[in-house]
């Protein structure tokens, strides 16, 4: 099959500088083990895993150290062979304290992983694949960290007509999905086979933005004859990697407000998640590491690294080295990535990168700018991919009219892509207001 050169994209959106050239050509390299790995038991949305190891116990790399607690939960695996030093509360990137397993890898511990019980794509049933994906601890690696197995089966009375593989990677600086598409092409195809079988979808489309031409070529050239997969190229635009946007771009369908992709007959899986499924399931292994981009002007040895889960940001930055005056470190890209206040937080399954800025970038971009009143220039209205009215929502937020924002102006649809704040010439912290407003609305709903 040949690539469909789609001209289609979603409406609105913004064009931040892509900043991918410095790492997109760098092959994925293995990261060394840190002296201590901090593995949180809830790296995913839903219920935390239940620890199956005790303090002082020896663990082997790849061994299950946490079992899923119900359906909305996934398994955890030891990222290295070593000693469980303690199981206690540790700071997470989100700021809260979460129960975590501290593992001290043995010096010179092997990176080899033992195989578990394999899941054969030819013979396994749909349910068996779903169970294997949960046991492998797989969650959305694009950043959402939603347990993948939960969304694989269509809800009662619905079916999937298309499986979408999301290789858009629209965040500036991040090049992990790009490298995975180049280097793990076969894993992706294998993952697609598992996913097609699990979801019952008759065909799949993989979406790639036009700034990753080499990945498109690689995918096209290597595509097996018997795999019903199309490669679609989308024009570069942020936030095209958001689930609703990629569905709109490729299929022209709008996921209903408050609804799921299943409501429009589709399911969207990140390309790195797909590659992990294809890489791990045939060997019955679980996720002990992931690919991240460590980049940004403050990083000395920028690159794409396969890094053990639980590596602290501090160890990662010490290993790659920092230059200049490090000022702000955030997980993921600069549009949506949360800044860390504490370098001892670990890399988890949902972390797609570490980006580090110096004071120079920060002052250039966001530092000490005068905030003007809203002049109703409508740039935010033209940027919002969900066609909200950020200008008006901003005024309401300033007056703390949170319930009105939710009821009359669809606040809760906002997925915090930050396009409004990015374009605002008055430098009004719109998305920052909306994050707060959403929290307040949830709080009000919980107490009501």
């Amino acid at each position: 099959m040949t690539a469909v050169l789609t001209r289609s994209t979603f409406r609105h959106g913004v064009h931040p500088p892509e900043q991918k050239d410095e790492t997109s050509h760098l092959a994925i390299r293995r990261f060394p083990f840190a002296p201590v790995l901090v593995v949180p038991l809830n790296q995913h949305l839903g219920k935390p895993a239940v620890s199956t190891v005790r303090e002082g116990e020896e663990v082997v790399r790849g061994q299950t150290i946490g079992k899923p607690d119900g359906f909305m939960s996934v398994a955890m695996h030891a990222p290295a062979s070593g000693l469980v030093r303690r199981i206690t509360l540790a700071p997470s990137a989100g700021g809260s304290m979460v129960e975590s397993v501290f593992i001290e890898p043995h010096p010179a511990a092997s990176q080899e992983v033992d195989d578990g019980e394999p899941c054969d794509v030819e013979t396994a049933s749909s349910e068996e694949i779903v169970a294997a994906i949960q046991q492998a601890g797989i969650v959305g690696l694009g950043g959402a960290a939603f347990p993948t197995h939960v969304k694989l089966r269509p809800p009662e009375g619905k079916e999937f007509d298309t499986l979408l593989i999301n290789g858009v990677e629209c965040e500036p600086y991040l090049t992990t999905d790009h490298r995975v598409m180049l280097e793990q092409t076969a894993d992706i195809f294998m993952g697609v086979r598992y996913l097609l079988k699990a979801t019952g979808a008759p065909k799949a489309i993989i979406a790639v933005e036009a700034n990753k031409r080499d990945a498109v070529q690689k995918l096209e050239r290597a595509l097996p004859e018997d795999l019903p997969l199309e490669v679609a190229v989308c024009p570069v635009k942020y936030p095209q990697g958001a689930e609703k946007m990629v569905i709109k771009a490729l299929l022209g369908r709008e996921v209903p407000s408050g609804g799921l992709p299943a409501d429009v007959g589709t399911i969207c899986i990140n390309v790195a998640t797909t590659a992990e499924i294809g890489r791990l399931l045939p060997h019955g292994r679980g996720i002990q590491e992931r690919v991240i981009t460590i980049g940004g002007p403050a990083i000395r040895h920028k690159g794409n690294y396969r890094i053990p889960i639980g590596t602290t940001v501090r160890f990662a930055l010490e290993t790659t080295g920092v230059t200049g005056d490090l000022s702000r470190v955030f997980l993921g890209g600069p549009m949506m990535g949360p800044a860390v206040s504490n370098l001892d937080v670990p890399i988890t399954k949902g972390t797609s990168g570490i980006t580090a800025f110096t004071t120079n970038e920060i002052s250039k971009a966001t530092g000490h700018r005068e905030i003007y009143p809203c002049i109703r220039c409508a740039r935010c209205v033209e940027a919002c991919p969900l066609y909200l009215n950020p200008s008006h929502l901003g005024l309401l937020a300033k007056n703390e009219q949170y319930p009105e924002m939710a009821e009359d102006f669809n606040l809760m649809d906002c997925f915090e892509c930050g396009a409004c704040s990015y374009v605002c010439p008055s430098h009004i912290p719109l998305v920052q207001y909306f994050r707060l407003a959403k929290k307040m609305v949830r709080k009000l709903e919980a107490t009501a």
Partner: protein, 339 residues
């Protein structure tokens, strides 16, 4: 690793921005207006230059003084008041006494802008508020037009320019009627070319349609103006004029005359597009523009005055918040309206 032991700065994403800034947008509007000012001075001479300078200075000074009086940081640096000043100056007759210019400038900023809460809160275009005030206060002086391209326009000032406050201004002999007044009261239509290049009597800036359109194109190209508003206004005026011509041939002017005469171009491109006082959605801008176009045609054809752009825009400004309430963007994944 000593570098990493220092404090980390925390900030909520996005950590990058487009670099757009209100003062940059406003400054570009000023740039776009400069050719129009230059042509006004070429056409009407030193008097027009003095009117424009006085208008701008009175507006800027008023903003500065009011900020000081209200103990607020000065907002002159956002350049919005400079636009108000220049636009206000461009709406005035070139031989208007300068003291009147200054009084109107103070009114435009103090009442048109500050009384409503300053930048971002002004319900009406402040420049037009200033002009409307003068129109009501000094109806005679505001309808007294000098002919363009007078021989001595750079050497001599009209007597009226330096008239003392509250003294009946004396006028020189060389005055004329605007094309719209000629049309309305005597049924004479000026030639298209004269109107396009602005070689007719009128306010300082309501003359050269070509330069106004070029300035507008520059702002549209830089994403600093919503083109839908002026296009909607001009299209509505053209269509309604064609319609009247078709219904009663001979009684109404041709569409080109309507488009290029009076303040329509200046108003459509620079005044109606005041972001603060116009709707925020594109659909809203179409409706708002159509409303202005309709009002312009109604006032010009059937009203008592030859020109109606100012009142058309001010009235539409008043309706703009209601248009915004009526037309909201259709939220993704909904059919529109409440979900």
């Amino acid at each position: 690793m000593s570098r990493m032991s220092r404090y980390l700065e925390i900030g909520s994403s996005p950590h990058v921005t487009s670099g757009a800034s209100v003062d940059v947008i406003m400054r570009n509007v000023v740039y776009a207006l400069l050719p129009v000012c230059a042509f006004a001075i070429y056409s009407f001479g030193a008097a027009a230059a003095l009117v424009l300078v006085t208008a701008t200075l009175s507006c800027v000074a008023t903003e500065q003084v009011l900020c000081r009086l209200l103990s607020r940081p000065s907002t002159v640096g956002d350049w919005s008041v400079t636009i108000t000043g220049i636009l206000y100056g461009l709406t005035l007759p070139p031989d208007l006494p300068l003291w009147m210019v200054a009084v109107g400038g103070v009114f435009a900023v103090a009442v048109g802008k500050f009384l409503f809460g300053g930048l971002g809160s002004n319900a009406f275009n402040p420049a037009l508020v200033g002009r409307a005030f003068l129109q009501a206060a000094f109806p005679q002086a505001m309808t007294h037009w000098a002919a363009p391209l007078g021989d001595a326009r750079f050497m001599d000032l009209p007597q009226s320019t330096l008239a003392l406050p509250f003294v009946e201004p004396g006028y020189d002999a060389v005055t004329t009627a605007t094309p719209l007044a000629l049309m309305k009261f005597e049924g004479i239509q000026a030639a298209n070319q004269e109107l396009m290049y602005g070689l007719t009597a009128g306010s300082t800036g309501e003359t050269c349609a070509v330069l106004i359109a070029l300035g507008g194109l520059y702002l549209v190209a830089r994403n600093m103006m919503n083109w839908r508003t002026p296009i909607s206004i001009l299209t509505t005026v053209a269509i309604l004029t064609l319609l009247m011509n078709w219904l009663e041939p001979g009684d109404y002017p041709r569409p080109a005359f309507m488009l290029f005469s009076g303040g329509l171009m200046l108003g459509a491109v620079y005044m109606a597009t005041d972001m603060v006082a116009s709707p925020i959605t594109n659909a809203g801008c179409w409706l708002y523009g159509a409303l202005i176009g309709l009002l312009v045609v109604v006032i010009r054809f059937w009203g008592g005055m030859p020109e109606g752009v100012m009142y058309a825009i001010l009235l539409a400004n008043a309706v703009s918040p209601h248009i915004d309430r009526l037309i909201q963007p259709r939220v993704f994944g909904t059919r529109g309206g409440k979900t």
